[in-house]
Symmetry: none
Subunit: 411 residues, 2 copies
């Protein structure tokens, strides 16, 4: 079943905002048996109507993003209703949801805001947990394909898609379909993965293989029948017995929090170069407050001494970016919080601050354990500042994850 | 002059590769007086011909990316030539360039590879410094707009665009050009902004107005002639004398770091519910190490007492999520680091942990200043965990930014 994706938004066509909707929607619908046949981006305003009318003639499934908000250039809902000759009516449930949301935030309930409660006849409302404008689903009928009108902001679109759109797609999906499995590996390069398993998986027969690399992790995506996927899974797990941390899309930080929770163990952090990003990732995981005790961000040497009891005698011979300082930071943070583990990072994120001996990108990551053992790894991530933080925290979390799974299981 | 961008590539429609071409091209052509009116992505194969034929009828300028390579699904060049009834001829200069490139790398010169040297009659060859397939420019004629056929890989496209495409666009660009200005406001809702300035700006005359909302901030984008933009800018600054923190795309955290740096002032943080994200945002800014002294992530009450000297007597009557605890956290962090300012956050990010009196989303943000004054604001951000962190840190940074600009300027 072929889908068309229409992204509305002048900001996309001006290049002010990068359009990530196609990639998101394509990846979400593929495992359900759908593919995007065409995608187009149009500006806010009348161009939307033209694009919709083309799509309604040619596709079986249409996803429209954006143009559902309260301002005058948000015309997706009106344009769709007009084109399909469907009357719009204000929906009482949507009005209550909008009113509750805005009242809680102290915003006024204006006429403009209530336009977002208008629903075309026959449409199913898709609740928006993260914004005021709901999504709308119009089931296919004589003069139209299945149509989804969805919000533009990714933080509204993504949860709505997973919670409300996917179940509808499940119910209308074609009978025959392939299964997809994705295995995510931490701290292994894409080309290493391909060299290790690529040819072997391809030779299994009817199988489609893809890779997707992000900073510090890579997905192996395999599509095919169940028997072939089982064989591919066995191959991947044999080649990488430790590195696969999820085959269900769980993030590395969620995997670490889950492992700690299962073992009733606790974590503290001491960050220099990652500046709070390590703690941020851990505390993004719901329930992390049960395992995360305390975090320190110690940029200045003085803060490392004061907060983490790093001996001042270490700075002079070794420098703040060194194995002994990383070790002392982790041990100081662990002892202070009485935690089972502490992770510490100290490095040179750049763009400035490098030297001949310690160039930009150099980082020491330390893991202190309740057993008294402390492991320190030296790495170099030569990249921009934010990717440096991503790679470093990825390496730190993976160091902890491997340590936990290497010890005895909780049972 | 309106442009259409056509991106070809099945990998884009499967979501395996993120399509960054629209953003790149839109940003490159805008300063030259061109805008993208529509963008579409089509798979490799026959769909290209259909997309080209639509675009040739409606646009004055067409950019096509991808489909110029040596494999059988690379049909952009053939499809274009056929559609415009232009004979293809192998170009001797291109043959030499391809031969030299492949020979240097030890690759064989095959018939498939030499297809890339085919040039439609009347086309200008755009050399490819980073790949084998050259770009092609077809000047506008009776039956066609200006057409650029360009390579898909960004590392080939970007240099070719800047070196060969931009100079051609310079020579064909329209005499009159629009200017764009974007004003970013923190902690103000999109509908509030529109209600305050929307109609007034529209009534200035020849002007295009758009909004783009993100968590905790909104862009007002105005396009028009210089005189109108000056008037619009004055209107916006009168309606929101404090909230506009940038008109150059600077992030809120970068604005805060810049203001602190200009004043040689310093910052510390004490985070409960934001779990390190506040420090992460500040330390994402290059040069932040000069102003950011130390950060604390104190989830547990015990950590708040130990790290920030929050009196244990505060927890019992008020709870950890309270005005007095937020105040004590900020003051403790500021004193400990000897900083000019300290920001503290304590709240309930959810999904669990709320109560009748303090529902999920409740947050107290405190700013302690060297003057001895401490400001505390109570808010509620009812959203997912990550957006809650975004909104809370946005409110905290904005609180600090307004405090800094309210004091005397550094000169």
């Amino acid at each position: 079943m072929n889908a068309i994706v229409i992204n509305t938004g002048t900001e996309l066509l001006l290049g002010h905002v990068l359009n990530t909707h196609l990639q998101f929607i394509a990846r979400e619908i593929f495992p359900l048996g759908f593919r995007v046949a065409r995608q187009l981006t149009v500006p806010d305003g009348v161009a939307i109507q033209e694009a919709l009318s083309e799509a309604f003639c040619s596709a079986e499934l249409v996803f429209v993003t954006g143009g559902l908000g309260p301002t005058s250039d948000d015309i997706t809902r009106d344009a769709t209703a007009e084109l399909l000759r469907l009357p719009l009516q204000r929906d009482a449930t949507v009005i209550s949801a909008i009113t509750a949301r805005l009242t809680a935030r102290g915003f006024p309930i204006t006429e403009a805001v209530l336009r977002q409660a208008e629903v075309p006849e026959g449409a199913v409302v898709l609740p928006n947990a993260n914004g005021t404008a709901p999504g709308l689903y119009l089931p296919s009928a004589e003069n139209r394909p299945h149509v989804f009108l969805l919000p533009g902001p990714p933080r509204e679109l993504h949860p709505m898609f997973r919670e409300s759109v996917a179940p509808i797609l499940q119910s209308i999906r074609p009978a025959q379909r392939l299964e997809a499995r994705t295995f995510t590996l931490a701290c292994v390069g894409e080309s290493v993965v391909e060299a290790a398993v690529g040819e072997q998986i391809q030779s299994l027969g009817e199988v489609e293989l893809g890779y997707c690399a992000r900073a510090g992790e890579v997905d192996i995506r395999v599509l095919g029948g169940r028997a072939v996927l089982d064989q591919a899974e066995a191959l991947i797990k044999r080649a990488f017995p430790d590195a696969v941390f999820t085959s269900s899309g769980e993030s590395l930080e969620a995997a670490v929090v889950r492992l700690l929770t299962e073992r009733a163990q606790t974590l503290a952090t001491a960050e220099s170069c990652t500046g709070g990003y390590l703690a941020h990732r851990v505390t993004n995981v719901p329930g992390s407050s049960a395992v995360f005790l305390a975090g320190h961000i110690t940029y200045a040497n003085e803060a490392k001494q004061r907060e983490l009891n790093v001996a001042s005698s270490l700075f002079e011979p070794h420098g703040a970016v060194s194995e002994p300082v990383a070790r002392a930071m982790a041990e100081g943070a662990r002892r202070k919080a009485h935690a089972d583990y502490a992770l510490a990072t100290t490095g040179i994120a750049g763009p400035a601050g490098g030297s001949g001996e310690k160039p930009v990108g150099t980082v020491f990551i330390a893991l202190a354990c309740r057993t008294g053992e402390t492991i320190v790894e030296k790495s170099r991530f030569l990249t921009d500042r934010e990717t440096f933080k991503q790679m470093t925290t990825q390496a730190a979390l993976e160091m902890l994850r491997r340590r936990i799974i290497a010890t005895l299981s909780p049972q």
